[in-house]
Structures are given as structure tokens and as C-alpha cells.
């Protein structure tokens, strides 16, 4: 296994507020890493550093073994790091296939090559096991899970090798969530894409991830393979954090 992403001593401050103190994190080829932690632990700051949105104040970041300073989201994307946000970046008014090819349209100058995009979108979605009955339908008509699946499929299609999923299961029913988990399982089986999932639901994290990292107060305080931990342990960790904090206050 080779390492696709490594972060050493990453720190980030916003004025007086220290969001990340000293983060050490690594991601292996084809691995699915679950990143958990309470609100305010620094999860979203960490993700925004990986995807090139924020620049860290200190520490080093390696992509595929090469040290890098990510200048922008576009730069991160050009080295294969892509994020699927909760807001999904899909245009509701456009069809599934137009969304799949947004800003990467296939052209038969001066026109859009709709037939080709339809065919490729269908092939790719089928290939990924995403079951969309008709790629010409507007995404506004699809369910939340299907939309998320299309957003993930689009990132994978655009040659992303490191995929960050920001709370992909939030606000999603059991059936919808299962759709996304299946998709992640499927990507894992193929092993081409490495994934970091940010999640609140520990059961789902344990189901789909190879390894779990817990972020507390700007540091990774826990790093174990899912097979070596349990629902109970994860819950205890977070609850004990809360208990000590309360004890300290009183």
C-alpha cells in the first residue's frame, strides 16, 4: 500500500482562535478513512485545508509522497483532490447528464454533443452501480441520495483520486444512506479512489471505513482500524471528553 496523503503538524489559526493545533494524518491508496469529532473540533477547517480552500499556518502536506502547498481549490483538484459538499454543487434545473459534464462538456463545435454526453453519463453511472432510470431527467426531480450519488460519480469521473465527502449521510433517510454507503463500498472494492468521510453517525462509519480518526480540540487524538474498535469505544471517547470538560468547569 502506498500513501496518497500525509499531513504533518498542520496548524491553523483564525485570529485568536486556534482551529487546528497539531494535526498528523495519513491516507493510504484505496483506503476509506472516517473522520469524526464534535462540532467545533476543527473537522471542516481540516477538510478545507486538504481541498485547497484554506492554507495552513504551519506543518507539511504531502500528496503521493511529494510535499505540496495547495494554492487553491482548482490546484488541489488538478492533483486529484476533490470534495463533495453537502450543497452538492448540482444545478437543479439541468439534466443529470448535463450536471455530470458541467464545465467539462463534450462539444461538437459549436454545439453541445448531447448524444455523446448522455451515452457516457449513462455508461459511467451504470459502471458505478448508480441506478438512475433516465439521465435526461432534471436533477430537481431526484431524491437526496441520488443527487449525492451523482455528485460523487461526477468527482470520480473527473479523475479524482482523493475524495473528501463532507457529511454525506446527514439529513438522509436509511434507504438513501444505504445507497451512498453501497457506492463507497463499491469504490473501495475497486481501490482506485481513496476517501475521507466526515460523519456523525458512528455506526455508518464503522460499516464503511477501514480506519477511524477522532479529531478533538484541533488534534487527532485517536487512530485505529475499524476492526480494532467498536461503537462503544467511540461513544465512550466522545462522552468522556464531554465529562472531563464539565468536571473541569465545575
Amino acid at each position: 500500500m502506498s500513501e496518497v496523503l500525509r499531513m504533518e503538524h498542520i496548524a491553523k489559526k483564525f485570529g485568536a482562535l486556534t482551529a487546528l493545533r497539531d494535526v498528523n494524518l495519513h491516507l493510504e491508496q484505496g483506503e476509506v478513512l472516517g473522520l469524526i469529532g464534535d462540532n467545533g473540533a476543527g473537522k471542516s477547517t481540516l477538510i478545507k485545508i486538504i481541498c485547497g480552500y484554506h492554507r495552513p499556518d504551519g506543518g507539511r502536506l504531502f500528496v503521493n509522497g511529494t510535499e505540496m502547498s495547495l494554492r487553491s481549490v482548482d490546484h488541489a483538484r488538478s492533483v486529484g483532490i476533490d470534495t463533495v459538499y453537502q450543497d452538492l454543487a448540482l444545478v437543479n434545473e439541468l439534466s443529470v447528464y448535463h450536471n455530470m459534464f458541467l464545465n467539462r462538456e463534450r462539444i461538437r463545435w459549436p454545439f453541445l454533443n448531447n448524444a455523446k454526453m448522455r451515452r457516457l453519463a449513462k455508461e459511467h453511472l451504470d459502471d458505478m452501480g448508480v441506478n438512475i432510470p433516465d439521465v435526461t431527467v432534471e436533477v430537481a426531480k431526484l431524491s437526496g441520495g441520488q443527487r449525492q450519488a451523482i455528485a460523487v460519480a461526477r468527482s470520480v469521473y473527473s479523475d479524482a483520486t482523493i475524495l473528501l465527502l463532507d457529511e454525506p449521510l446527514a439529513a438522509m433517510g436509511a434507504k438513501e444512506g444505504a445507497l451512498i454507503l453501497d457506492l463507497v463500498h463499491d469504490l473501495k472494492r475497486r481501490g482506485k479512489v481513496s476517501i475521507i468521510i466526515i460523519a456523525h453517525n458512528y455506526a455508518q462509519v464503522l460499516d464503511v471505513c477501514d480506519r477511524v480518526n477522532l479529531l478533538q480540540h484541533g488534534e487527532i487524538t485517536f487512530d485505529k482500524a475499524t476492526s480494532d474498535t467498536s461503537m462503544q469505544e467511540l461513544t465512550d471517547l466522545v462522552v468522556s471528553e464531554y465529562r472531563t470538560a464539565r468536571a473541569r468547569r465545575s
Binding site: V91, N92, L102, N103, E105, F111, V137, K141, L142, Q146
Partner: protein
Amino acid sequence: MSDDVKVVEPSGSTDSTGTTAQPKTRRILTLVRDTFLQRREASVLIVALALMAYFEYNRSIFLTQSNLLNIAQATAPIAIVATGIVLLLISGEIDLSVGMTFALAPFLMHYFADFYSVPAIPAILLSLIVAAGIGWLNGFISIVLRVPSFVTTLGTFYALQGFVLTTSHAYPAEIPKSMDGKIREWIGPPTGWSELIWAVAIVVFFQIVLTRTRWGLHTISVGGNIVGATEAGIKSRRIKIGNFMIASVLAGFAGIAEAFRVHTIDPNLGGGAQIPFLAISAAVIGGTALAGGSGTVAGAFLGALVLAELQNGFNLIGISANPYFLILGGAILVSMIANQYLSRLRRTGRT
């Protein structure tokens, strides 16, 4: 998962269960209803045809060639301006200043030709380039300086009006000699269909741009989800400012054609604020929503046609021009309410 989304082929042929059991007429009716719901333009087309039938029934001169020419001449300038307005509305912006670009462009053409001795065609092109500059300025203020485009273009509307009135001393001017002949015949003759032909060509061209090119797709994207479009790497500023420029150039061209047709360059050409209001009305009646993300140029053309028919038909029947506005107001409200209802139907996939 596939069972909680009902997807309908536009053809509507075999998807709903039990269609085969239905009698043929029923199936055709369903098909008509589905097309009707799917195609925004269909409803306004029916209104346009119904009005034609109604007015012809009441006044049989409605469909004579000379009256159709009147309708064509009233439709053309509004349809051309509305084309640009539709592109702007889809990308989530608006332009009120088109009313004054419409009046300014013929004056610029006159200034270039008569004061700077620029030949006819270059003078027209130069005034359209200035119009493009006005569009760019509208776009720059709205998109880069983040002033809402409604306010920006309200400002430029009055600024341009001031410019037109000051430079013309509020007096009409004559069409430059160099253009009063072949060129006038080509662009806006008093009798003849060339203005309508321009309008149709422009509408067809931009309908294709909207539905078949990257520019159109990106226009829809920045109006539908600006954050998402920008995240996907679409240059949203370029798209929006470009559409402001298109709207201004089209308004300038429509103004020049109209000045040729009425054979005078008037500071009040088109009635100032009437132009953007009628163009927005045409767009809205044609099925374009102000919220951005969707709209149709062909619909706006039909909207302009409906407005022209109403005005003309009322004249023929002998109703005074005043209730025309009552009907216009009602038409806008009814079409918007219907639009809301239809788009909810479309969204839930009931069509």
C-alpha cells in the same frame, strides 16, 4: 430506489401503466396535456392563436396582410429586446436600461454619421459597440461591484436618458442621408417584413445558443446555482457580464430598426420605460421565471406577439387603449400564477 422517482419520457408513449387499455383519443389527449406541461411555449402559443381567432371573428380585417404587418412591426422590437432580457433573467439578473440603450443607439448612429462623417455601416456598428460597452458597465457594476442589477440599471437608465436629452437638446433628428435608402430597407422599412425577419432570426439564433451551446448551459447554471456553477469552475462573471452585453446590443439594434421604421430619431423612441417593461412582460408571459435558472427565448417572442395582438385587436374593436393595460396586467399575473403551478407540477414529476 428507482421506484420513488417517476420519470416520464417526453413522448409520453408507454410509461404509464394501462395506456394500452385506454382508447386512442384518450391517449392523444394525455399526450397533448403532457406536451403542454412539458413545453412552456405551448400554452402561450395557444393564447396567441386564440387571440388571433377571436379578433378575426370580431373584425375580419384582423388577418389582412396590412394588419398582420402592423402586428409584426409591433412584435419585432419587443421580441428582440426581450431576447436579451430572457438571457439575463435566466442568469439571475435584469436590465432596465435597455429602454434607454434603445433610444440612444440611433442617436449615436446619427452623431457618428453626421458629425464625424463615418460611413453608414461602420456608424451603425460603432453605435452597437458603444451599446456593448454600456452592457459591460452594467455587468461590471452589478457583478464585480455587487450592486443589485435592478438598481444598477435603474441608475444607468436615467444616466443614459440624461445623455440622450442633453446631446439631442430634446429634439428629434433625421435619419442620416447615407442610410436613408437600401440600409433602411434592409433593417427597418415602413412597409415590409424585414424587421420581423430580423427578430425571428435573432430569436432562433439565441434559442439555439440557450439550448444547444455551452454558453446557454452555463447561463442556466449560474442562474440556477451560482455556488455550484462556480465550484465546477464556470466563469460566472464572464457569463453574466456577457449576457448584459448581449442585452444591450440587442436593445441598441432594435432601437435603430425602430428609428428607421418611424423615420425619425426621437429621444422618446419606444416610450422610455415602456421598452423594458414590455420586454419583461413578454419574457414572463412566455414562461421565463424571474428567479433565474430557466426560461425560453421562443416563449418571449410569442409573449411579444400576444402583447402586440392585444394592442392591435383592441384598436380594431374600438376599445380605447386604456383597458389594454388592465388586460396586460391581468395577463402577467395569470401567466405567473400558472407558471408557478406548472413548474411545481413539472418538479414533482407529475407530468
